[in-house]
């Protein structure tokens, strides 16, 4: 059971991931913009972040940068969940510093265990 922050602006994707992960016993926190996400990170101290790269208001890449430049011990796993599919996008996002890359649509069979593999 972990505190997971879900940064995603599409309400149905948010609902899907929330139901899926809550069902597996995790505690979900949600944000729809980068600003909201920053506040949540301060208050909730999530153990893992799922980030839609294309969120409005500054975008996920800047948010990732923000998370990565904070002081340790906040080396929190940040996983990209994105509609940008293809090897080219995967490589680019991994280079940016995401810990993993999931392209939409996710597979509900493997998503849970895959996310949990990043939790200590």
């Amino acid at each position: 059971m972990a505190r997971i922050l879900l940064v995603e602006d599409d309400p149905l994707s948010r609902r899907l991931l929330r139901d899926l992960l809550t069902h597996r016993g995790h505690q979900l926190f949600e944000a729809t913009t980068a600003d909201e996400a920053r506040r949540q990170i301060e208050s909730v101290r999530p153990q893992l972040i799922l980030l839609d790269v294309q969120i409005p208001g500054g975008g996920g890449e800047i948010l990732l940068d923000h998370i990565r430049t904070r002081e340790p011990p906040n080396r929190v796993p940040v996983l990209a969940v994105t509609a940008l599919a293809g090897k080219h996008h995967e490589e680019r996002l991994m280079r940016l510093g995401f810990d993993a890359y999931f392209s939409k649509p996710i597979s509900t069979h493997t998503f849970g265990p895959a996310v949990e593999s990043f939790l200590k």
Binding site: L12, S13, A83, A85, P105, H109, P113
Partner: protein, 872 residues
């Protein structure tokens, strides 16, 4: 000097004729004569005799000089016509000259005749030259217009001080939708065509170019008089006087509307495919959750409905994926990742997926491959997609109880794949549209066959990216047969100097038609640690580039072939498989802008030096292995091998000294960085033991020392047959001399330690670890390992290869799946064959956590695995 001259004389008097002959011979003319008296004779003479000069008497009984002149003029021939008169009559003379005679001379005074004839002949010659010149000019102009028309490229010249009107080529008018007289030469008129939103940008670009800051080069829109918008690409050079003052702009304008449209289309398709993923995420995700009954049970009917949604969602997803792939192909961004692949492995995984589909339809699905099929150089993922699409297509269109099959055969240099079904077949009139995107064949048994309509189009593109072809035969009611022919790389390249089977170095392709220049360049490149292939024409260059996947292409352009060279740059950039290979242009013509515009990454004006080459490769991100300044001591008997070695090392920038036998006392005086020993079987005493322990040694040997029973001290060993290849040698030395200790030179203890660390990590990350253990036929593991380490380019950098015993090697691969483990063991097998010409007696793959929970367990299990369970 005697000038041969053909004179036609219009004259009735034989005496007068004889006198003329004499006069002209005196004037040094060598004359051929034809004398005529009548119009009919003259007509005949003009045709048959082909005179160069006509002399005409002005008074003839049955003819006149004036009539004769008219006839000559009407014939259209350019022959000087000189009138000779008995009497001096001002009027007659003026009249004849007016009518077009060249001169009017008195028969009594023919002193000037020779001079007049010479003058007139010269005039004829000049006129003929001018006509030829005019014709050539017209031809060139026509050719230029045609070329501009076909390229949709217009040109213009703009005099900056406005002293001359702006000049446009015909194509410029056509691009702007104007007639040739629709332009007043005012540059502002041209500007008025520019799209209002682009005007500022264009104007700024022009000013910057005139100020000499940047080249004038931009895409912008133009609005034609009919209101339509087109995209053009403009480029121009600014001509300056000696003080640098700008005089003229000479530019080109190209209609790129179609290009832009296809760029927009590809971009649109890619965007659409991304956009559709978000709703699909909900459709597929929620129906999966329902179907798993995660939040409560469903009634049988609800479950059926959910499955319908799910199937449709997945179908939609495959469509979206195909659209993305198609957009990549169309944008030229689809890249193949080719590797040596076992086709059996590709077909096996396709078989696994499709058997269940075939069973559901009660079809027989049979995939048959010849047993001795060699590995092929293909992109395994894309080839899987090709076979999957064709077979799934066959299954889809074959009724229950039918058969779908794949058969493969190798014929000469081609691999033939045939996918046959006993399905409903395709009407002949629809066959040609089959491979076009979105061309779902309709009326195939009443619309029950939903498909993406993209699968076959994509399949065709993927086959073509592999250099292959696809075709189809079909009979309605009987079935269809799809034939794929792929070129096999090995056979196609038998003539080329590169030994592909053993290539482990990166390769640079040199294209140029001056063999000597290319060979010199190739030598420089080899000395920087690269394999080289040389192509003599752009045609073979393109083919080689597709097959060899070089890290860079160097075009060595000679002046006469410059245009072919430009075309080659362009074609590389339009070639989906190699579009990302950087192209460097070497040329005597300083036209870097053009090269860069066409897509070249770098441009060097010849003659280029070795340093230029190194810098240039560094700029495009290719690491070179220069050994500049490395002090090497060559040890051994001087023979041809040592001479080759010395040349190669000198080419690579080493400082060389040579000695036949090592003398320990000379080290303190003359420091060296590396010893290269030419170990010959008959020379048992090179005294290598005298070298300081810290000094790296490379031994060039015929046989590996473990097999020869010698003990070896640090450093590396390299086979003579192989090690003399400069590119191999340079990489090896770079590794050894600069103390790049390859991971591989490790013992079993290090292996266990690494495996432990991997297991620990895998435990935390829920990953698998594969241990690929290789049993060698002889106890040569240590030396084999050294060689592999020296050429370690074909294993993934994160893989750890180590010694597991006297005749065992083990590769620890972290976080791989079964497919990639199988690929890795295949590569390992290749590598063993390449470096040691040996086939392993066994290859086992063990997994953490399936086959053992600790490093020691796993290694023990490796040793114990029953050979019958081994997965080669």
């Amino acid at each position: 000097m005697t000038v041969p001259l053909k004179i036609l004389l219009v004259e009735d008097s034989l005496d007068a004729a004889a006198k003329l002959k004499l006069d002209l011979r005196r004037a040094d003319f060598d004359v051929q004569w034809l004398r005529v008296e009548t119009a009919a004779e003259l007509r005949e003479g003009l045709k048959g005799f082909k005179p160069s000069v006509i002399l005409s008497d002005d008074e003839l009984p049955r003819f006149s000089a004036a009539a004769a002149l008219r006839m000559v003029q009407e014939s259209g021939l350019d022959i000087p016509f000189i009138v000779l008169s008995e009497t001096a009559g001002e009027d007659g003379a003026v009249e004849m000259l007016k009518a077009g005679a060249c001169d009017y001379l008195l028969k009594g005074n023919l002193a000037r005749l020779g001079e007049v004839i010479r003058r007139e002949l010269k005039g004829v010659l000049t006129r003929a030259e001018r006509d030829d010149f005019d014709a050539a000019l017209r031809k060139t102009q026509k050719y230029l217009e045609r070329t501009q028309e076909s390229a949709r490229l217009g040109s213009w010249i703009y005099t900056l001080d406005g002293s001359q009107p702006m000049i446009w080529s015909k194509e410029t008018y056509r691009i702007l939708g104007l007639k040739s007289d629709g332009f007043d030469g005012n540059p502002e008129t041209l500007f008025s065509f520019t799209h209002p939103e682009d005007r500022e940008r264009v104007s700024e670009a022009r000013q910057q170019a005139i100020r000499g800051e940047v080249a004038y080069q931009l895409d912008h829109r133009v609005v034609l008089r009919d209101g339509s918008t087109r995209w053009v690409h403009e480029e121009a050079l600014v001509e300056r006087d000696q003080s640098g003052k700008p005089l003229r702009m000479v530019g080109s304008v190209m209609d790129i509307t179609d290009l832009k449209a296809s760029q927009f289309k590809s971009k649109f398709l890619a965007n659409m495919s991304h956009e559709l993923r978000t709703p699909l995420n909900a459709v597929i995700g929620f129906s999966e959750l329902l179907e798993q009954e995660m939040f409560g049970p469903l009634s049988p009917r609800q479950k059926e409905y959910v499955q319908n949604i799910l199937t449709s969602g997945q179908h939609l997803l495959s469509l979206v994926n195909d659209v993305l792939d198609i957009s990549k192909v169309e944008a030229g961004r689809m890249e193949l990742v080719r590797e040596w692949t076992s086709l059996a492995q590709v077909t096996e995984s396709v078989d696994r997926i499709l058997q269940s589909l075939a069973r559901k339809k009660r079809l027989t699905l049979k995939l048959s491959l010849p047993e001795d099929l060699p590995d092929v150089f293909i992109d395994p993922i894309r080839m899987k997609q090709v076979l999957y699409n064709l077979l799934a297509n066959g299954i889809k269109f074959t009724p229950e109880g039918g058969m779908v099959g794949l058969s493969v055969c190798l014929e000469g240099s081609q691999l033939h794949l045939s996918v046959d079904d006993t399905g409903i077949g395709i009407p002949a009139d629809q066959l040609s549209r089959l491979f076009q995107p979105f061309e779902q064949i309709r009326n195939r048994a009443g619309g029950e066959h939903e498909g993406t309509g993209l699968g076959l189009a994509l399949t065709k593109s993927l086959v073509e990216l592999h250099g292959g072809t696809i075709s189809v035969r079909s009979e309605v009611g009987k079935g269809s047969s799809f034939q794929v022919a792929l070129p096999m790389r090995t056979a196609a390249l038998a003539d080329f100097p590169v030994e592909l089977e053993t290539r482990d170095e990166d390769l640079i392709l040199v294209v140029g038609d001056d063999a000597a220049a290319c060979e010199l360049l190739a030598r420089h490149i080899r000395a920087l640690g690269f394999a080289v292939a040389v192509a003599g024409s752009s045609e073979s260059g393109l083919q080689l580039a597709g097959e060899l996947r070089p890290v860079a292409i160097i075009l060595d352009l000679q002046t006469p072939q410059i245009d072919e060279g430009w075309a080659m740059v362009k074609r590389v950039k339009n070639h989906p498989a190699i579009v990302n290979v950087p192209v460097i242009v070497f040329s005597v013509v300083p036209e870097p802008n053009r090269a860069l515009y066409l897509g070249a990454m770098d441009y060097l004006v010849k003659p280029q030096t070795r340093d230029d080459l190194i810098e240039c490769l560094a700029r495009i991100g290719v690491t070179t292995y220069s050994l500049d300044g490395l002090r090497v001591l060559l040890v051994g008997r001087f023979n041809a091998d040592l001479a080759t070695l010395a040349t190669n090392l000198r080419d690579a920038g080493c400082h060389l000294r040579a000695t036949t036998r090592l003398d320990p006392y000379e080290f303190p005086q003359q420091p060296v960085d590396l010893l290269v020993a030419n170990v010959l079987p008959e020379d048992d005493e090179l005294n290598l033991g005298a070298a300081p322990d810290s000094l790296p040694i490379i031994r060039i040997v015929d046989l590996p020392s473990a097999a020869a029973g010698q003990s070896s001290k640090g450093g590396a060993e390299v086979l003579r047959a192989d090690g003399l290849r400069p590119e191999r040698l340079v990489r090896l030395i770079k590794g050894v001399a600069h103390g790049i200790e390859p991971d591989a030179l490790t013992s079993r203890a290090k292996l266990i330690a690494h495996l432990r660390a991997s297991i620990l990590r895998a435990e935390g990350e829920s990953k698998k670890v594969a241990v690929i253990s290789v049993r060698l036929p002889q106890a040569r593991a240590a030396s084999i390992l050294e060689w592999i380490a020296a050429v370690k380019t074909r294993l993934r950098p994160e893989d750890f290869l180590a010694l597991a015993g006297d005749n065992d090697l083990a590769l620890v691969a972290y976080g791989v799946d079964e497919d990639s483990a199988a690929r890795l063991s295949g590569r390992l097998k290749d590598l063993l064959w390449t470096v040691g010409k040996m086939r392993p007696s066994r290859i086992d793959v063990l997994w953490y956590p399936a086959n053992g929970k600790s490093a020691e367990d796993l290694m023990l299990n490796c040793d114990r695995t029953d050979p019958s369970e081994a997965r080669p």
